[in-house]
Every structure is written in C-alpha cells, then in structure tokens.
Amino acid sequence: MTDYVSRYSLDGNIFIPKKFQGFPEIKEALIADRMQAGFMVAPMAMALRSQGVPIKIVYLGHRYGSAVVVSKEGPVHSVRDLVGRTIAIPSRFSDEHLIVLRALEANDVDRREVEIVEMPPPDVAGALAVDAIDAFSMGEPFPSQAEMGGFGRVLFQAREYWPDYMSCVLVVRQDVIDRRPRAVQTLVDGIARSGLWLDDEERARLHRDHAADFVGRFYFNQPPDLLRWALLRDLRRVVYTELEPRRADFELVRDLMLEHGLLERSLELEEYVDPRFARGAMGQTAWRYVPGSRVAR
C-alpha cells in the first residue's frame, strides 16, 4: 500500500508517503494539516473525531496482525499469568489496548491488576528482550521481531478474542474529502487493489515475498526477512482484504472505549466514517503486476 502511494506520486502526482515512528505524531500532523491523510489506530481516529478534529475514516489498512507477546522463557503462559506484570501498548487509544482489556475481562482479571504502559512500536521488542516489560500488545512486524530474535513468544493473536479484529484505518481530513474526492477515491482504490494483490488466492506467497523485500528495504527500513516472517509464516496473520468499514466493527470499538473511559460521548458511525469511498472501491480487482516487472496495471 505504501508502495502504491509512493509509485503513484513518483509517476505523476497525487501522494507523498511520510514515515512516522508513532501514532501521536501522526495525530499532531493531521491536526496541523501537515498531513492530509494517514494510517492510524481506529480508537485514536474516533477519539479525535469526538474532540472535533475534522477527519473521517474512509477505509481500513488491514485486518488482524496484532498479538500479545511475552518472554519466550518467562513465566507467563496464560492471560491470568499477566497479573502483576507490565504490558506495553502503542497508545491508550489503540485496538492493541482494547484487545488486552478484552482478554483480561474474558479471563476474569481486573484491569487494575496489570500495569499497562504506552511505548512507541519500534521500542517494544527491545524492551521485552531486556526484561523492561513483561509483555507487549502490538501490530506486526514487532511480534515477529521478538519471535525471530528468539526472546519472544506469542501468548495470543488478537483474533482469538476478537474474531473480526481491525487495527489501522485510513483517515483523511474533511477539507480534502470535500475539495478533492477523486484523489481520495484514487487512494482508496489503490489500497483495495494492493490488498487484493497481497491476498491473491494463487500467488499470495509470491506477492507477499516480493512486498516484504521492497517494503522492508525502501519504506520500513526493516530487514525483509522480518517482514517475510510476518507475512508468510501464516497468511492469515495479517489480512489485506475485507477492508470496508463495517458498522458492527466500529460500534464494538466505540462501546469498548466508552466502557473503559476512552471516549467522552457516544458517537454515531456517520460522524466519523465516510463510507462512499469504500463503496466506490468495491469493484476493484488486484493489480496485474508480476514481481520484477516495471509496470502495474
């Protein structure tokens, strides 16, 4: 998806991808209009909208892809073992936070029995390796980083407690939606086509292998083998299709946020989601792109 954004820009025009290291920085950039669109965790987008920030969610970035990871040789083997431990999350306003709360509740553990701390995603694997934290809840490739490094073990994948789990969403400033809806549609179409290409029924492994290579080297600045681990060991670990915003998914997030005091007032879907771009992308097909060639259609 990032590559699509970049290539579209290089080829002529519409987008410039900008890498950030944390969601709070993206939030500030959107508010200041330094970024006109961005990928961020769904609860943060909803919290911003409830505070009056003029943005709308137009699409999802992916589904699943988050996990709670503990020390490989450590004493935590169940959610109940997390009592008295420290868990890192990317933000209070993140699905990774909500999945921890949901898992604790499902196992009759009081939230106050666990220390939850915020930490930038790139820092969590290192913190776990030196025992600064006991666990982290984060999106890929950081669970894979801990597994590959030999010091982390997945305690549970988010889907085990949240079957239709979603995390990153694409948000766009309202003024851009109003003034340049065709550009927004182009962006959403490209993300939809990239997702279909990554999840291609017959060639998903080939496509993901290629994506791991160029995204790792040119966009994420991460080892391609790390992304291969995340994308290829289990193709269902991260899914790039079914990205249209669904009412039930967002109402679940909203209700969890209200329950845990992360949202000051209830929001209706229409206040924070603009579904027309997802509808417009429904007829899209996967890129016709063979890894190694120079043209995608």
């Binding site: 820009s9 987008f15 990928f39 340049r180 600045n221």
Partner: protein, 52 residues
Amino acid sequence: MSGIRRLVVLLAGWVALVSAAHLAMNVDWSTVLNERLPPGERKLNVAYIPVT
C-alpha cells in the same frame, strides 16, 4: 594570494560546502515545493508508521 585571503576563501568554501550538504540531506524538498503549489494542485501527504 596572501595567507589571510587564502584562509577566508577556504572558510567560505567550507561554509558553502556544509550548507549545500545540509540543504541536500536535511531539507524535505518534496514537501517544500509541494507547499508552494496552489491548494488544489498539491500532492497529499499520507502518514504511515512501519507496522503492517
């Protein structure tokens, strides 16, 4: 060329070299040029973090 004059030329050259390197490496020219375009013609900055 006197010693002082040579020193001034060398210093000026060094400052110019460091300034050029700074402008090349630390200024995001795509953003600078983009912000000089009329709003309707600007490219859209899309933020992401390195997670899948």
